[in-house]
Amino acid sequence: MKVPYKWLKEIAGIDAPVAEAAHRLTMAGLEVEAIEPCGDDHVLEVNVTPNRPDCLSVIGIARELSAIYKTSLNLPPHDVLAHTGALDFNVDILDYDLCHRYAGRIIRGIKIGPSPAWMQQRLEQCGIRPINNIVDITNYVLLEFGHPLHAFDMKKVKGHRIRVATAGCAYPGAEVKITTLDSAERAVPADTLLILDAEDPIGIAGIMGGLHSEVDDTTEDIFIESAYFAPSSIRRSSRALGLKTEASYRFERGSDIKMLKKALDRAAYLVKEIVGGELYGKIDMYPKKFVQTSIDVRYEKVNRVLGINISKEEMTSCLNGLGFEIKTKKDLFNVKVPAFRNDVKRDYDVIEEVARMYGYDNIPAVLPKATIGMETGSEAGSALSGIAGAVRASLLKTGFTEAINLSFMSEADLDMLDIPADNSRRRVVNIKNPLRSEEACMRTMILPSLIRNLKHNLAYGSRDLKIFESAKVFIGNGQDSLPSEEHAICALYYREKAKTLYPETANDFFVIKGIAESILSDLGAAGISFVRSTEPFLHPGQSADIFAGKGKVGYIGALSPVVFDRLGIKSAKPSIIIMEFFIEKLKSAGFNQPRYRQLPKFPAIDRDVAIVLDSSFAASDLNSIISGFGSELIEGISIFDVYQGSNIPEGKKSLAFSIRYRASDRTLTEEEIEGLHSRLVAHLSEKTGGQVRK
């Protein structure tokens, strides 16, 4: 809200420098965001919070200033004398719940023209365009009293009658349209409150008047409306119509049902003074009376909640000037709340009033005495701790930089990755009002975001990238239920073949698999196995699903060449490896508890073997074949070479590995090893169908 400072000073009866007054307003809860010099005056830009509609007016802000400076408030003149003759004008409120009070005055014989320069200047300082004397007066009073008024041209109000009713009540079952002051024709929802004359709608109550009843250059007689409309009804209609006005903004926050009469009289006063004309007695339908809130506040509680220790007198004097009626009693004081403070409903609200007038800065800072409990926190802990935190820390240490993306995607992202219709990732949660079509739903996977990040980085010439994101993905459970939120950590590794000082010779798949294995063994996850992956966006021959026991906890693999082709990446054959962990699944995996095993006392003996076998043979099968052999003397194997090429037949590969033998109770003899080793080699060659190379 923009307020000229001189106007405030007149009403508040203060003479403080503008900067000081602005500071004190800010510290009392009316934040002054800017002080703009304007001629010989200043305009304050006051940020009025939604609970204080009374401060959407010069008088409201001046009241705060007068309470702060302990001055008395000067209301502008609003006493008028009117003809008392018969009015020949009727108002019917057909919906008391939505219109609690409807008042108006008739002024005849006016002449439309420009408003005086001083009024135009103030309106402009407040950001309102001057139109003509009558409209300007209603706007001036709106700014001054914060109460919206509306002037109708009397001769356009048919039947000397005004009705206040919802569109649905006035025209049951029919579609209702009205052309508003801004020349737009609007379809009105059935629950929207209308102002109607004897025949037609002439305005949308509390939001905007109708074009056809507008005051124009030929207007001679006017009817000024000053009413109270139920805030929630105005808000609902304003949103449904997509129409927000100075009037609707105030009505939906709550206007002053008592002040509306004064505002009306002030407007009549200004019309008489500035425009002239004959003023007629007032109409005031007030079917739903204001019920004043009365609150008992215990002195002890004020001090207890705020952590201060002030006297009863000091407490109640904080409230002086804010319009409360206060009666002090022994242990408590009673507060009668004025109509313009609809935000004050219970003792805590009064405590806030005491606190802000006492000054937040005057309240001492004292650290709490805490009760020690079990500070459990949710099992989920945080993204920064627990399993997700450990995976995240490992990725950082192994060279992956953390990305954070918006949690949105579109279904086109799933199409790009060939996600089939029956995959749970297709159960998207759609947003009804997305900002962009690319952000139409919540992510069911993180990968599309990382691919976008990759393209962004390639566009400026990056040749390698290792990024990951740790975030929730959202799997829909139907329109009326909350989705399942699952924590996932997805990493993307991109590398082009480039000249480098220290070349990495390993296949990138194994580089990333090594990281995955290290992460899992660091967590102590039990029963981990890698099985050829079925993920549609991965290279079928170069990808693996990761299982912990029977549960799939993630996957790794090269991006499918089919998907790669869709990305429009120019570089030839870079390697793109994706790794993802499903954190909730990983949490339910088994974990090994560390348990000490005695260190070996006797030496080990190593023997190397090379076997030529089918190229489809999975090296990891060697482990089960060897454990099937059933000798306690075999400690383990380690593969040191996989070879295909000359000397090896088509469709075959040579697998070379070293076997370590050790006994726990003695040093093995050469003879023992020779016998055992040749039996093992025979077993291997039988079970693998391979041939031992000599």
């Binding site: 919070t49 805590y348 937040y360 709490p368 949690s407 947003i431 939120e485």
Partner: protein, 335 residues
């Protein structure tokens, strides 16, 4: 004679170049057929009275030659080792093979910094859903439907009753429904509002905090948040509390810190006020306590919240919020 021999030996020792020469020299003097061995043998031909003295001279000479040969051998070996190590030297000015640590996203960095401070003060960490029921995001927080306070937060809707949470405050309600006081936790996470420009992102991060117990006061709120500000921004940072409005707190406060960019002299970032708004807070509204079945006469507490992006932008002098979500490696590697 032995003086000549000694001189000859020293000349030869002087001209030695390498270890193989030394071996030869040792054989020449001390070997079975060496000069000194011969000398010793020839002693027997001497008259008895001379033999003893001559014997001592030859032995002294032998000992001298032996020790000098040993010394020479040690020094030749040291030189050889030195030469060999020198030949193995590498260009230590070449760059190392990077262990290539990744970088934490600046928002995570700031978030864990903040979380650490509260964890040290005994706050635990809680989480809640990001796609949330209207009831938790608004109604139980004292923001009914058709209430103007909803304008403070432009909401993404999934359905009439389901929204993307506009703040981390619904976690308060969920935890209070689940647990009885005392409570002391923070809830960091992603929140959503349909708004996008250089200072607003449709998704951003908040940290919410809540402390509930008997006799928790506004003065406690001030002390906890002042402690936080001093830990986070430095012990000499100015802090001020001013009244504000949040539907779920009463009294409510906004917390400003002295602008550290201009030392409170006034600059563009603080809009010439010398103050930067960093936190919202307040005493938990008794209506909220009642909504979760707590007795507001028995328990009181405070809640606070802050935007991580705003703090990170101030801390690192970042002027466009979208940089956080482009994930440009050139940006991410700066933190």
């Amino acid at each position: 004679m032995s003086a000549d021999l000694s001189n000859t030996f020293h000349d030869e020792l002087q001209s030695l170049k390498d270890l193989s020469g030394l071996v030869q020299l040792r054989v020449k003097y001390l070997g079975k057929k060496g000069i000194l061995t011969a000398e010793l043998k020839s002693l027997s031909s001497l008259p008895a009275e001379e033999r003893k003295a001559a014997g001592k001279r030859v032995n002294d000479l032998k000992n001298l030659i032996e020790s000098e040969l040993d010394a020479k051998e040690a020094s030749l070996k040291a030189e050889a080792l030195k030469a060999q190590l020198l030949s193995e030297s590498i260009d230590i000015s070449l760059p190392g093979k990077s262990a290539g640590f990744g970088r934490q996203h600046p928002l995570s960095r700031v978030m864990s910094e903040i979380a650490d401070i509260f964890v040290k003060m005994g706050f635990s960490i809680e989480e809640g859903p990001e796609v949330e029921l209207d009831k938790y995001n608004f109604e139980l927080l004292n923001i009914p439907k058709d209430h103007p306070a909803r304008d403070m937060q432009d909401t993404f809707y999934v359905s009439d009753e389901i929204v993307l949470r506009t703040h981390t405050s619904p976690v308060q309600v969920r935890v209070m429904q689940r647990q009885k006081p005392p409570l002391r936790f923070i809830a960091p996470g992603r929140v959503y509002r349909c708004d996008a420009d250089i200072t607003h992102s449709p998704m951003f991060h908040q940290i919410e905090g809540l402390m509930i117990d008997r006799d928790i006061t506004f003065s406690n709120l001030k002390a906890v948040l002042r402690t936080f500000v001093h830990q986070m921004f430095g012990a000499d940072t100015a802090v001020r509390f001013r009244p504000s409005f949040f539907p779920f707190t009463e009294p409510s406060a906004e917390i400003d810190i002295g602008c550290f960019l201009c030392k409170q002299a006034g600059c563009r970032v603080c809009k010439s006020t010398g103050w930067l708004e960093v936190l919202g807070a307040g005493m938990v509204n008794p209506a909220v306590l009642e909504n979760v079945g707590y007795d507001p006469d028995e328990y009181s507490g405070f809640a606070f919240g802050m935007g991580i992006e705003r703090i990170a932008m101030l801390k690192y002098a970042i002027d466009d919020i979208r940089l956080f979500f482009d994930n440009d490696a050139r940006f991410l590697r700066q933190f």
